[in-house]
């Protein structure tokens, strides 16, 4: 543990929140997409956050010599999952994606809730950026001990 670990914890959150904002933007952009490569409408995606194990001693011991592993207490994206909500059907007989009854499947995406989600991730990102600033300042102060007064 130390101030540099604090930086990596906040950095993990920054990257997780950025990924969440990315997925939310993709949902917003594809709110009206009725045609995809796999056929059918676009499926809403959602990120799943998980915290890396905070179990103290074993992780510290396990981390010796393994620099790629996450710092305990950091957050990571466990996966991006599909929303299972069924698509919304609209009657549009002229649409090329319409079925034989003239119904078109639109993704079940509510732009308002996506916007709220986007704002939430932006705020969390800002909060973590403040934590990075605090850590940087503390490191700088420790360096300043070395400066002759």
């Amino acid at each position: 543990m130390g101030l540099f670990d604090m930086l990596s914890v906040s950095a993990s959150a920054l990257s997780a929140e950025r990924q969440r904002a990315e997925v939310t933007s993709a949902n917003l952009a594809n709110a009206e997409t009725t045609h995809t490569d796999t056929g059918g409408p676009y499926v809403r995606k959602e990120v799943v956050f998980s915290t890396s194990n905070v179990s103290p001693f074993s992780t510290v011991l396990g981390r010796l010599g393994h620099f790629g592993q996450a710092t305990p207490g950091s957050v990571q994206v466990a996966g991006v999952v599909d929303d299972t909500t069924p698509p919304v059907m609209h009657y549009e007989p002229g649409n090329p994606d319409a079925d034989k009854n003239g119904m078109v499947a639109y993704p079940a995406i509510n732009p308002v809730s996506e916007m709220v989600d986007l704002m939430g991730s932006v705020r969390s990102y800002q909060m973590n950026a403040s934590a990075v600033t605090a850590a940087k300042q503390m490191i700088q102060e420790s360096i300043d001990i070395l400066k002759s007064s």
Binding site: V54, P56, F57, V60, M127, A131, M138, E141, I145
Partner: protein, 117 residues
């Protein structure tokens, strides 16, 4: 851990506790959107005692405990962002104080050396 003066020894432990606490605060902020995460913090008194007893190499994480009495959101997360941002600022200032006191102690030492001749 060997330090020049007893005060230096104490301040070294203080800075260790403060930086560890700041890391837990950063971890709480990082996990503000993680379902099921619970706020963690160190107990200053026991962390300080542990650092003073066992030296600087001790891992402080065992002293970190879950904070009681915070309301839990429906997703099982109980991080209160206001509490964490307050603690972030508070711990930063406490760390700054520790650093200033260490600089002061070094300065005192230097004065003792210089006035000696």
């Amino acid at each position: 851990m060997t330090s020049t003066t007893p005060l230096m020894h104490l301040l070294q432990g203080y800075l260790k506790v403060m930086s560890d606490r700041q890391q837990l605060v950063a971890s709480n902020i990082a996990n503000v959107d993680t379902p099921g995460y619970h706020t963690r913090d160190v107990n200053f008194q026991s962390a300080m005692r542990q650092v003073m007893d066992e030296g600087n190499d001790v891992q402080l994480v065992p002293a970190s405990t879950q904070v009681e009495g915070l309301p839990e959101r429906p997703d099982g997360n109980n991080v209160n962002i206001d509490r964490e941002s307050m603690l972030l600022a508070e711990t930063q200032l406490q760390y700054q104080m520790g650093v200033q006191l260490i600089k002061e102690e070094f300065h005192r030492l230097l004065t003792a050396i210089k006035e000696g001749n």
